[in-house]
């Protein structure tokens, strides 16, 4: 693929800035991240996949290169407190069973996955623990405690390549997600692919369209200054095309999450990322 004009512009833009980072290479606290890799074979219409980080301005990009500068770590800190907090009738915290949160390294790269015939996301796993083992109330899908916890657990996989299973039991869910990705919906009659496959790198008003990769979620958005869940972002996209969003945590969004995760195969987990 030829170097897209927007990449050239970004390179030129940053050449003038006194920054150790260039806009094509992301390293976080010295650890290199893969933000560009050959598209997996099943993604028929793309040659190369790019992390959403590559589409952001130099200032926004810089926020993700240092864990202190990254405002998402305020919420990771909250996640650390929540991990040790006893809640529910069983008098247990996450850490009662899971001694070290580091043991979750690699989990983010494999989710969503099929368990007992059902497609489960990290939110499902967390809430199963809360209701089944802790006797606690489930957390709301996109609210503060849940996104703080998914950020903390996802962080343990940072730098590892996305690698979800899409065959075997997962195949029907993956097919459903792919179907949703290419189905036009809403008053504007648009599918995910219309923006994120056909027009990534193009300006939508004053903004660069990304490929819609989810390797950095939950992501801290400058827009709302908080962590945003994957399903929360899907909902935002659907509202923007004047469609009625599916439910967060519902079968449609879980299937779409699996399909999108598979489109990012090989990109580094960047959780928690910073976007605009």
């Amino acid at each position: 693929m030829n170097l897209k004009p927007w990449i050239a512009v970004l390179v030129a833009g940053v050449a003038g800035a006194a920054s150790a980072q260039d806009s094509n290479t992301l390293s976080i606290d010295g650890e290199p991240m893969v933000t560009e890799v050959a598209a997996p074979a099943h993604v028929e219409n793309l040659d190369t996949i790019y992390s959403g980080w590559r589409f952001r301005s130099a200032e926004t990009q810089a926020l993700e290169t240092d864990d202190f500068d990254n405002p998402a770590f305020v919420f990771v800190d909250q996640g650390i407190d929540l991990f040790d907090k006893v809640d529910g009738t069983e008098n247990k915290a996450c850490s009662s069973c899971h001694e070290n949160v580091e043991d979750f390294a690699g989990l983010r790269t494999q989710l969503p996955r099929v368990q007992d015939g059902e497609l489960v996301t990290m939110e499902n796993l967390i809430n199963d623990c809360r209701t089944e083992r802790m006797g606690a109330e489930p957390w709301k899908w996109s609210k503060g405690p849940m996104t703080a916890m998914t950020a903390l657990i996802g962080l343990q996989s940072r730098g590892m390549p996305m690698n979800v299973t899409i065959d075997g039991e997962a195949a029907p869910f993956w097919e459903q997600g792919k179907e949703l990705y290419y189905t036009r919906v809403g008053q504007l009659d648009m599918s995910c692919s219309n923006c994120h496959e056909d027009n990534y790198g193009v300006m939508i008003r004053a903004d660069h369209l990304s490929q819609g990769q989810i390797n950095g979620f939950p992501t801290y958005r400058l827009k709302n200054a908080k962590l945003n869940s994957i399903h929360g972002r899907f909902k935002g996209c659907m509202k923007n095309i004047r469609a009625t969003p599916f439910a967060e945590g519902g079968d449609e969004f879980k299937a779409l999450e699996l399909y999108l995760a598979s489109r990012g195969e090989g990109l580094s987990v960047e959780t928690p990322s910073v976007r605009n």
């Binding site: 202190f68 500068d69 405002p71 770590f73 305020v74 800190d77 909250q78 200054a225």
Partner: protein, 109 residues
């Protein structure tokens, strides 16, 4: 806003006596500007951190007055001289009267 406010500071653990170091601070706070309205059209009252100070062994490094134009989760980066071993103290003052404090020791050699 008294609950869930969490200060973060980054100070080197050691420095050469008389050296200049870089300090970064971040605190979780909504910084409600007083300019926004709720769904019913009522103005949401202002609720911000209005002052931030950094001191070292009782001597001031920086004293910042914040207005509502400072972003959510206020971030500051600045430089300090380290004349001796000691402790930096950081203090944030909330509109509601709450005060958040944290400190970091540094070894000068």
């Amino acid at each position: 806003m008294a609950s869930g406010v969490k200060p973060r500071v980054k100070v080197p653990k050691t420095a050469a006596t008389g050296d200049t170091i870089t300090i970064k601070t971040l605190i979780s706070h909504k910084m409600e500007s007083g300019q926004r309205k709720d769904d019913d059209g009522n103005v949401i009252p202002r609720s911000i951190i209005n002052r931030f100070t950094a001191d070292f062994n009782g001597q001031n490094v920086i004293d910042v007055t914040l207005e509502p134009a400072i972003s959510t989760n206020p971030y500051f980066q600045f430089e300090a001289v380290v004349p001796e071993s000691g402790e930096f103290t950081f203090t944030w003052y909330d509109d509601d009267g709450d005060v958040y404090e944290t400190s970091k020791k540094i070894e000068a050699s």
